[in-house]
Protein backbone atom coordinates (compact mmCIF):
# COMPACT_ATOMS: atom_id res chain seq x y z
CA UNK A 1 0.00 0.00 0.00
CA UNK A 2 1.55 3.20 -1.20
CA UNK A 3 0.85 6.11 1.11
CA UNK A 4 1.41 8.78 -1.56
CA UNK A 5 -0.92 7.02 -3.91
CA UNK A 6 -3.60 6.85 -1.25
CA UNK A 7 -3.17 10.49 -0.38
CA UNK A 8 -3.40 11.61 -3.95
CA UNK A 9 -6.50 9.48 -4.44
CA UNK A 10 -8.13 11.19 -1.50
CA UNK A 11 -7.29 14.56 -2.97
CA UNK A 12 -8.47 13.62 -6.43
CA UNK A 13 -11.91 12.81 -5.18
CA UNK A 14 -12.21 16.32 -3.84
CA UNK A 15 -10.94 18.28 -6.81
CA UNK A 16 -14.22 18.57 -8.70
CA UNK A 17 -16.05 19.32 -5.50
CA UNK A 18 -13.69 22.15 -4.67
CA UNK A 19 -13.82 23.66 -8.14
CA UNK A 20 -17.60 23.73 -8.00
CA UNK A 21 -17.43 25.22 -4.53
CA UNK A 22 -15.10 27.97 -5.66
CA UNK A 23 -17.38 28.89 -8.52
CA UNK A 24 -20.56 28.71 -6.48
CA UNK A 25 -20.73 32.38 -5.58
CA UNK A 26 -18.69 34.09 -8.21
CA UNK A 27 -17.44 33.49 -11.71
CA UNK A 28 -13.74 33.17 -12.22
CA UNK A 29 -11.22 32.53 -14.94
CA UNK A 30 -8.75 29.69 -14.84
CA UNK A 31 -5.86 31.59 -13.28
CA UNK A 32 -8.02 32.80 -10.42
CA UNK A 33 -9.23 29.29 -9.75
CA UNK A 34 -5.65 28.08 -9.84
CA UNK A 35 -4.57 30.77 -7.40
CA UNK A 36 -7.31 29.82 -4.92
CA UNK A 37 -6.59 26.14 -5.22
CA UNK A 38 -2.89 26.61 -4.80
CA UNK A 39 -3.55 28.77 -1.78
CA UNK A 40 -5.53 25.89 -0.31
CA UNK A 41 -2.74 23.43 -1.25
CA UNK A 42 -5.23 21.46 -3.27
CA UNK A 43 -3.22 21.16 -6.44
CA UNK A 44 0.46 21.07 -7.11
CA UNK A 45 0.37 20.92 -10.88
CA UNK A 46 -1.52 23.75 -12.49
CA UNK A 47 -2.11 21.74 -15.62
CA UNK A 48 -4.35 19.43 -13.63
CA UNK A 49 -7.08 22.01 -13.54
CA UNK A 50 -7.61 22.36 -17.28
CA UNK A 51 -8.79 18.84 -18.09
CA UNK A 52 -10.98 19.10 -15.02
CA UNK A 53 -12.62 22.35 -16.11
CA UNK A 54 -13.14 21.11 -19.64
CA UNK A 55 -14.71 17.93 -18.40
CA UNK A 56 -17.01 19.73 -15.98
CA UNK A 57 -17.99 22.07 -18.78
CA UNK A 58 -18.68 19.21 -21.18
CA UNK A 59 -20.78 17.48 -18.54
CA UNK A 60 -22.92 20.60 -18.28
CA UNK A 61 -21.93 21.49 -14.72
CA UNK A 62 -20.02 24.59 -15.77
CA UNK A 63 -20.42 27.10 -18.56
CA UNK A 64 -18.00 29.70 -19.78
CA UNK A 65 -18.02 33.02 -21.57
CA UNK A 66 -15.30 35.19 -23.03
CA UNK A 67 -14.66 38.45 -21.28
CA UNK A 68 -12.28 41.23 -22.21
CA UNK A 69 -9.37 41.56 -19.84
CA UNK A 70 -7.61 44.80 -18.93
CA UNK A 71 -4.39 43.33 -20.31
CA UNK A 72 -3.92 40.81 -23.06
CA UNK A 73 -6.41 38.65 -24.90
CA UNK A 74 -9.93 37.90 -23.62
CA UNK A 75 -10.28 35.56 -20.70
CA UNK A 76 -12.46 32.52 -20.36
CA UNK A 77 -14.73 33.07 -17.37
CA UNK A 78 -16.30 29.96 -15.90
CA UNK A 79 -19.63 29.98 -14.09
CA UNK A 80 -21.64 27.26 -12.47
CA UNK A 81 -24.86 26.05 -14.14
CA UNK A 82 -28.11 25.07 -12.37
CA UNK A 83 -27.19 21.46 -12.98
CA UNK A 84 -23.83 22.18 -11.40
CA UNK A 85 -25.51 23.63 -8.34
CA UNK A 86 -27.66 20.53 -8.03
CA UNK A 87 -24.58 18.40 -8.36
CA UNK A 88 -22.80 20.48 -5.76
CA UNK A 89 -25.62 19.99 -3.28
CA UNK A 90 -25.34 16.25 -3.64
CA UNK A 91 -21.59 16.35 -3.28
CA UNK A 92 -21.86 18.54 -0.22
CA UNK A 93 -24.29 16.14 1.41
CA UNK A 94 -21.94 13.30 0.74
CA UNK A 95 -19.00 15.33 2.03
CA UNK A 96 -20.84 16.08 5.26
CA UNK A 97 -21.53 12.41 5.62
CA UNK A 98 -17.88 11.50 5.11
CA UNK A 99 -16.73 14.15 7.56
CA UNK A 100 -19.20 12.96 10.09
CA UNK A 101 -18.13 9.37 9.74
CA UNK A 102 -14.43 10.09 9.86
CA UNK A 103 -14.73 12.43 12.78
CA UNK A 104 -16.87 9.94 14.56
CA UNK A 105 -14.11 7.39 14.32
CA UNK A 106 -11.34 9.91 14.85
CA UNK A 107 -12.81 11.47 17.94
CA UNK A 108 -15.18 8.88 19.41
CA UNK A 109 -15.82 10.83 22.62
CA UNK A 110 -16.96 14.13 21.20
CA UNK A 111 -18.86 13.85 17.94
CA UNK A 112 -18.71 17.28 16.37
CA UNK A 113 -21.55 18.63 14.33
CA UNK A 114 -21.09 18.23 10.57
CA UNK A 115 -19.09 21.06 9.10
CA UNK A 116 -21.32 23.55 7.44
CA UNK A 117 -19.55 24.71 4.37
CA UNK A 118 -22.13 27.34 3.55
CA UNK A 119 -20.92 29.53 6.36
CA UNK A 120 -17.27 29.18 5.63
Amino acid sequence: MNIDNLKSQMRKGMLEFCVLLLLRNRDAYASEIIASMKEAHLIVMEGTLYPLLTRLKNDGLLAYRWEESPSGPPRKYYSITPLGLQFLDQLKASWDEICHTVNHILLPSQTPPPINIDEE
Binding site: K12, G13, S31, P51, G72
Partner: protein, 349 residues
Amino acid sequence: MKRTYPANIDGQIFYIDEDAYLMLQDYLQQLRLTFKGTEGAEIVSDIESRIRELFEERIASGANVIVKADVTSVIETMGRPEQITDEVQMDREDCSDESMQGSRVQQEESKPFVEFNFPTRKRLYRNMKNKIFGGVLGGVATYLDWNANILRLLYAVIACCNFWVPMLVPMVVLYLLGWMIIPPAKTPRQILEMKGEPVNVDTVGQAFMENSPTAAPNGQEEEPRNFFSLILAVVGKVVMGFLGIVGCLALIGGLISFLSVGACQLWYHFSYVPDLVWRLPWHGEPIYFVCIMIWSLAAAIAGWALAWASACVLFNAGAASKTTKITVFIMEILLISLGIAVSVVAASM
Protein backbone atom coordinates in the same frame (compact mmCIF):
# COMPACT_ATOMS: atom_id res chain seq x y z
CA MET B 1 25.11 33.75 -28.38
CA LYS B 2 21.89 31.95 -29.12
CA ARG B 3 19.34 32.13 -31.83
CA THR B 4 15.91 33.31 -30.71
CA TYR B 5 12.58 32.78 -32.31
CA PRO B 6 9.60 35.04 -32.12
CA ALA B 7 6.76 32.78 -31.06
CA ASN B 8 3.08 33.51 -30.98
CA ILE B 9 1.66 32.07 -27.78
CA ASP B 10 -2.05 32.66 -27.48
CA GLY B 11 -1.90 35.83 -29.52
CA GLN B 12 1.12 37.28 -27.78
CA ILE B 13 4.59 37.51 -29.25
CA PHE B 14 7.48 36.24 -27.15
CA TYR B 15 11.12 35.96 -28.05
CA ILE B 16 12.28 32.52 -27.08
CA ASP B 17 15.74 30.97 -27.18
CA GLU B 18 16.03 28.14 -29.62
CA ASP B 19 16.55 25.40 -27.01
CA ALA B 20 13.72 26.78 -24.90
CA TYR B 21 11.57 26.98 -27.99
CA LEU B 22 12.17 23.35 -28.85
CA MET B 23 11.51 22.29 -25.29
CA LEU B 24 8.22 24.16 -25.24
CA GLN B 25 7.29 22.78 -28.63
CA ASP B 26 7.98 19.26 -27.41
CA TYR B 27 5.94 19.90 -24.30
CA LEU B 28 2.94 21.20 -26.19
CA GLN B 29 3.26 18.36 -28.66
CA GLN B 30 3.22 15.88 -25.80
CA LEU B 31 0.15 17.55 -24.35
CA ARG B 32 -1.52 17.30 -27.74
CA LEU B 33 -0.68 13.62 -27.91
CA THR B 34 -2.04 13.10 -24.41
CA PHE B 35 -5.23 15.09 -24.77
CA LYS B 36 -6.86 14.14 -28.01
CA GLY B 37 -10.02 15.18 -29.80
CA THR B 38 -11.88 18.46 -29.54
CA GLU B 39 -11.88 18.26 -25.76
CA GLY B 40 -8.12 17.79 -25.84
CA ALA B 41 -7.61 20.71 -28.21
CA GLU B 42 -9.51 22.92 -25.81
CA ILE B 43 -7.44 21.74 -22.86
CA VAL B 44 -4.18 22.35 -24.68
CA SER B 45 -5.24 25.79 -25.84
CA ASP B 46 -6.26 26.67 -22.26
CA ILE B 47 -2.90 25.48 -21.00
CA GLU B 48 -1.21 27.49 -23.73
CA SER B 49 -3.01 30.62 -22.62
CA ARG B 50 -1.88 29.94 -19.06
CA ILE B 51 1.68 29.58 -20.32
CA ARG B 52 1.24 32.95 -22.00
CA GLU B 53 0.26 34.44 -18.64
CA LEU B 54 3.25 32.91 -16.91
CA PHE B 55 5.58 34.23 -19.60
CA GLU B 56 3.97 37.64 -19.36
CA GLU B 57 4.75 37.68 -15.66
CA ARG B 58 8.31 36.74 -16.53
CA ILE B 59 8.58 39.57 -19.07
CA ALA B 60 6.94 42.00 -16.66
CA SER B 61 9.63 41.20 -14.12
CA GLY B 62 12.28 42.38 -16.51
CA ALA B 63 13.26 39.52 -18.78
CA ASN B 64 13.65 40.24 -22.47
CA VAL B 65 13.82 36.71 -23.73
CA ILE B 66 12.25 33.47 -22.55
CA VAL B 67 15.10 31.10 -21.73
CA LYS B 68 15.23 27.40 -21.06
CA ALA B 69 14.97 27.87 -17.30
CA ASP B 70 11.68 29.72 -17.78
CA VAL B 71 10.26 26.89 -19.83
CA THR B 72 11.48 24.35 -17.29
CA SER B 73 9.78 26.26 -14.50
CA VAL B 74 6.59 26.55 -16.54
CA ILE B 75 6.60 22.82 -17.16
CA GLU B 76 7.19 22.20 -13.48
CA THR B 77 4.30 24.49 -12.61
CA MET B 78 1.90 23.05 -15.13
CA GLY B 79 3.03 19.47 -14.73
CA ARG B 80 4.07 16.96 -17.32
CA PRO B 81 1.30 15.32 -19.29
CA GLU B 82 1.55 12.04 -17.41
CA GLN B 83 1.42 13.87 -14.08
CA ILE B 84 -1.67 15.76 -15.16
CA THR B 85 -3.52 12.69 -16.37
CA ASP B 86 -2.43 10.81 -13.29
CA GLU B 87 -3.98 13.48 -11.08
CA VAL B 88 -7.17 13.87 -13.01
CA GLN B 89 -8.32 10.87 -14.89
CA MET B 90 -8.66 8.46 -12.02
CA ASP B 91 -12.32 9.09 -11.45
CA ARG B 92 -13.31 8.18 -14.96
CA GLU B 93 -14.72 4.72 -15.46
CA ASP B 94 -11.26 3.34 -16.05
CA CYS B 95 -10.28 3.48 -12.38
CA SER B 96 -10.69 -0.23 -11.84
CA ASP B 97 -7.71 -1.85 -10.18
CA GLU B 98 -6.44 -3.54 -13.31
CA SER B 99 -6.28 -0.46 -15.46
CA MET B 100 -4.77 1.48 -12.59
CA GLN B 101 -1.96 -0.98 -12.38
CA GLY B 102 -1.69 -0.92 -16.15
CA SER B 103 -1.36 2.82 -16.22
CA ARG B 104 1.20 2.74 -13.46
CA VAL B 105 3.29 0.21 -15.30
CA GLN B 106 2.98 2.29 -18.41
CA GLN B 107 4.07 5.32 -16.51
CA GLU B 108 7.12 3.63 -15.17
CA GLU B 109 8.03 2.62 -18.68
CA SER B 110 7.51 6.06 -20.10
CA LYS B 111 10.73 7.95 -20.43
CA PRO B 112 11.57 11.10 -18.56
CA PHE B 113 10.56 14.24 -20.31
CA VAL B 114 13.81 15.41 -21.79
CA GLU B 115 14.52 12.13 -23.50
CA PHE B 116 11.17 12.17 -25.25
CA ASN B 117 11.97 11.86 -28.93
CA PHE B 118 9.72 12.40 -31.85
CA PRO B 119 10.58 10.52 -34.96
CA THR B 120 12.26 13.13 -37.08
CA ARG B 121 11.84 12.95 -40.80
CA LYS B 122 15.13 13.17 -42.57
CA ARG B 123 15.22 16.18 -44.80
CA LEU B 124 17.32 17.24 -47.70
CA TYR B 125 19.40 20.31 -46.96
CA ARG B 126 22.54 21.69 -48.49
CA ASN B 127 25.39 20.68 -46.24
CA MET B 128 27.15 23.90 -45.38
CA LYS B 129 29.89 22.11 -43.47
CA ASN B 130 30.85 19.83 -46.32
CA LYS B 131 30.71 21.86 -49.45
CA ILE B 132 32.70 22.90 -52.46
CA PHE B 133 30.25 25.19 -54.23
CA GLY B 134 26.88 25.29 -52.58
CA GLY B 135 26.91 22.05 -50.62
CA VAL B 136 24.30 20.45 -52.88
CA LEU B 137 26.13 17.18 -53.38
CA GLY B 138 27.36 17.25 -49.79
CA GLY B 139 23.74 17.53 -48.69
CA VAL B 140 22.58 14.77 -51.03
CA ALA B 141 25.42 12.57 -49.78
CA THR B 142 24.43 13.23 -46.17
CA TYR B 143 20.83 12.50 -47.04
CA LEU B 144 21.75 9.19 -48.66
CA ASP B 145 24.50 8.37 -46.15
CA TRP B 146 27.06 8.25 -48.92
CA ASN B 147 30.55 9.57 -49.13
CA ALA B 148 30.36 13.07 -50.52
CA ASN B 149 33.58 12.90 -52.49
CA ILE B 150 32.55 9.71 -54.28
CA LEU B 151 29.27 11.33 -55.21
CA ARG B 152 31.11 14.41 -56.45
CA LEU B 153 33.46 12.32 -58.56
CA LEU B 154 30.51 10.41 -60.00
CA TYR B 155 28.75 13.65 -60.79
CA ALA B 156 31.82 15.12 -62.44
CA VAL B 157 32.33 11.95 -64.53
CA ILE B 158 28.73 12.02 -65.72
CA ALA B 159 29.05 15.72 -66.48
CA CYS B 160 32.10 15.03 -68.66
CA CYS B 161 30.37 12.24 -70.56
CA ASN B 162 29.00 12.86 -73.97
CA PHE B 163 25.96 10.74 -74.67
CA TRP B 164 23.74 12.00 -77.44
CA VAL B 165 24.28 15.50 -76.07
CA PRO B 166 27.14 16.89 -74.00
CA MET B 167 26.11 16.24 -70.39
CA LEU B 168 28.02 19.20 -69.02
CA VAL B 169 25.29 21.77 -69.53
CA PRO B 170 22.38 19.78 -68.07
CA MET B 171 24.46 18.63 -65.11
CA VAL B 172 25.59 22.17 -64.35
CA VAL B 173 22.04 23.45 -64.73
CA LEU B 174 20.81 20.64 -62.48
CA TYR B 175 23.38 21.60 -59.88
CA LEU B 176 22.42 25.27 -60.03
CA LEU B 177 18.77 24.31 -59.74
CA GLY B 178 19.58 22.27 -56.66
CA TRP B 179 21.47 25.22 -55.26
CA MET B 180 18.45 27.44 -55.78
CA ILE B 181 15.79 25.06 -54.54
CA ILE B 182 17.39 23.12 -51.68
CA PRO B 183 17.63 25.22 -48.52
CA PRO B 184 20.93 25.34 -46.64
CA ALA B 185 21.20 23.68 -43.22
CA LYS B 186 21.95 26.66 -41.03
CA THR B 187 20.27 26.26 -37.66
CA PRO B 188 21.08 23.36 -35.35
CA ARG B 189 17.58 22.07 -35.97
CA GLN B 190 18.15 21.96 -39.70
CA ILE B 191 21.52 20.31 -39.27
CA LEU B 192 19.91 17.60 -37.15
CA GLU B 193 17.09 17.16 -39.64
CA MET B 194 19.61 16.88 -42.43
CA LYS B 195 21.34 14.03 -40.61
CA GLY B 196 18.01 12.50 -39.64
CA GLU B 197 18.77 12.75 -35.96
CA PRO B 198 16.00 13.44 -33.45
CA VAL B 199 15.53 17.08 -32.64
CA ASN B 200 15.33 17.65 -28.90
CA VAL B 201 16.95 19.73 -26.27
CA ASP B 202 19.98 17.49 -25.85
CA THR B 203 20.79 17.04 -29.50
CA VAL B 204 20.24 20.70 -30.27
CA GLY B 205 22.68 21.59 -27.55
CA GLN B 206 25.13 19.16 -29.08
CA ALA B 207 24.59 20.62 -32.52
CA PHE B 208 25.23 24.06 -31.08
CA MET B 209 28.54 22.84 -29.72
CA GLU B 210 29.53 21.15 -32.95
CA ASN B 211 28.53 24.23 -34.84
CA SER B 212 30.65 26.57 -32.80
CA PRO B 213 34.04 27.19 -34.38
CA THR B 214 36.04 26.07 -31.34
CA ALA B 215 34.66 22.56 -31.42
CA ALA B 216 34.46 22.23 -35.17
CA PRO B 217 37.76 20.56 -36.13
CA ASN B 218 36.80 17.20 -34.69
CA GLY B 219 33.20 17.26 -35.86
CA GLN B 220 32.23 14.01 -37.49
CA GLU B 221 30.76 15.66 -40.52
CA GLU B 222 33.91 17.57 -41.35
CA GLU B 223 35.72 15.39 -43.80
CA PRO B 224 39.48 15.70 -43.88
CA ARG B 225 40.68 18.20 -46.42
CA ASN B 226 42.73 15.75 -48.37
CA PHE B 227 44.51 16.21 -51.66
CA PHE B 228 41.54 14.96 -53.60
CA SER B 229 39.06 17.47 -52.25
CA LEU B 230 41.66 20.22 -52.59
CA ILE B 231 41.99 19.43 -56.30
CA LEU B 232 38.22 19.34 -56.59
CA ALA B 233 38.01 22.72 -54.93
CA VAL B 234 40.62 24.27 -57.21
CA VAL B 235 39.09 22.75 -60.34
CA GLY B 236 35.71 23.86 -59.09
CA LYS B 237 36.84 27.44 -58.65
CA VAL B 238 38.37 27.48 -62.12
CA VAL B 239 35.17 26.09 -63.62
CA MET B 240 33.19 28.59 -61.62
CA GLY B 241 35.37 31.44 -62.88
CA PHE B 242 34.88 30.23 -66.43
CA LEU B 243 31.12 30.04 -65.90
CA GLY B 244 31.21 33.53 -64.44
CA ILE B 245 32.92 34.89 -67.52
CA VAL B 246 30.46 33.07 -69.76
CA GLY B 247 27.66 34.54 -67.66
CA CYS B 248 29.01 38.06 -67.96
CA LEU B 249 29.42 37.70 -71.73
CA ALA B 250 25.91 36.33 -72.05
CA LEU B 251 24.59 39.20 -69.98
CA ILE B 252 26.37 41.86 -72.01
CA GLY B 253 25.68 40.18 -75.36
CA GLY B 254 22.06 39.60 -74.47
CA LEU B 255 21.55 43.18 -73.42
CA ILE B 256 23.24 44.59 -76.53
CA SER B 257 21.24 42.30 -78.76
CA PHE B 258 18.01 43.11 -76.92
CA LEU B 259 18.54 46.84 -77.10
CA SER B 260 19.79 46.97 -80.67
CA VAL B 261 17.09 44.72 -82.05
CA GLY B 262 14.56 46.71 -80.13
CA ALA B 263 15.99 49.88 -81.61
CA CYS B 264 15.86 48.37 -85.10
CA GLN B 265 12.27 47.40 -84.58
CA LEU B 266 11.36 50.90 -83.48
CA TRP B 267 13.24 52.24 -86.45
CA TYR B 268 11.35 49.93 -88.76
CA HIS B 269 7.99 50.98 -87.43
CA PHE B 270 8.47 54.66 -87.04
CA SER B 271 10.87 55.70 -89.73
CA TYR B 272 10.16 56.44 -93.33
CA VAL B 273 13.66 55.40 -94.26
CA PRO B 274 13.44 51.73 -95.13
CA ASP B 275 17.04 51.39 -96.34
CA LEU B 276 18.51 50.09 -93.11
CA VAL B 277 15.71 47.62 -92.59
CA TRP B 278 16.07 46.02 -95.99
CA ARG B 279 19.71 45.33 -95.30
CA LEU B 280 18.78 43.11 -92.34
CA PRO B 281 18.41 39.43 -93.18
CA TRP B 282 14.90 39.00 -91.82
CA HIS B 283 13.18 41.57 -93.98
CA GLY B 284 11.63 43.38 -91.09
CA GLU B 285 9.03 40.80 -90.08
CA PRO B 286 8.06 41.92 -86.56
CA ILE B 287 7.87 38.35 -85.28
CA TYR B 288 11.59 37.84 -85.95
CA PHE B 289 12.37 40.92 -83.92
CA VAL B 290 10.20 39.72 -81.10
CA CYS B 291 11.80 36.29 -81.26
CA ILE B 292 15.32 37.67 -81.07
CA MET B 293 14.40 40.05 -78.30
CA ILE B 294 12.95 37.26 -76.19
CA TRP B 295 15.99 35.06 -76.65
CA SER B 296 18.41 37.87 -75.91
CA LEU B 297 16.54 38.71 -72.74
CA ALA B 298 16.57 35.04 -71.72
CA ALA B 299 20.30 34.89 -72.38
CA ALA B 300 20.90 38.10 -70.46
CA ILE B 301 19.00 36.88 -67.40
CA ALA B 302 20.67 33.48 -67.47
CA GLY B 303 24.04 35.18 -67.82
CA TRP B 304 23.29 37.50 -64.95
CA ALA B 305 22.28 34.58 -62.71
CA LEU B 306 25.37 32.62 -63.68
CA ALA B 307 27.65 35.60 -63.10
CA TRP B 308 26.11 36.24 -59.72
CA ALA B 309 26.33 32.59 -58.69
CA SER B 310 30.00 32.44 -59.57
CA ALA B 311 30.62 35.73 -57.81
CA CYS B 312 29.01 34.25 -54.71
CA VAL B 313 31.43 31.35 -54.76
CA LEU B 314 34.58 33.13 -55.83
CA PHE B 315 34.29 36.46 -54.04
CA ASN B 316 31.91 35.58 -51.21
CA ALA B 317 29.37 38.00 -52.59
CA GLY B 318 26.03 38.05 -50.84
CA ALA B 319 23.67 35.41 -52.18
CA ALA B 320 20.42 36.46 -53.75
CA SER B 321 17.33 36.10 -51.61
CA LYS B 322 15.11 33.12 -52.19
CA THR B 323 12.34 35.28 -53.61
CA THR B 324 14.72 36.78 -56.14
CA LYS B 325 15.95 33.35 -57.15
CA ILE B 326 12.47 31.97 -57.60
CA THR B 327 11.28 35.05 -59.49
CA VAL B 328 14.26 34.94 -61.81
CA PHE B 329 13.80 31.21 -62.29
CA ILE B 330 10.12 31.58 -63.21
CA MET B 331 10.88 34.51 -65.51
CA GLU B 332 13.55 32.51 -67.24
CA ILE B 333 11.25 29.51 -67.72
CA LEU B 334 8.50 31.78 -69.06
CA LEU B 335 10.90 33.53 -71.42
CA ILE B 336 12.29 30.27 -72.72
CA SER B 337 8.86 28.77 -73.31
CA LEU B 338 7.70 31.99 -74.92
CA GLY B 339 10.85 32.04 -77.05
CA ILE B 340 10.27 28.48 -78.19
CA ALA B 341 6.64 29.22 -79.01
CA VAL B 342 7.46 32.37 -80.96
CA SER B 343 10.33 30.64 -82.75
CA VAL B 344 8.05 27.81 -83.82
CA VAL B 345 5.51 30.30 -85.13
CA ALA B 346 8.21 32.30 -86.87
CA ALA B 347 9.70 29.20 -88.49
CA SER B 348 6.34 28.12 -89.81
CA MET B 349 5.76 31.46 -91.50
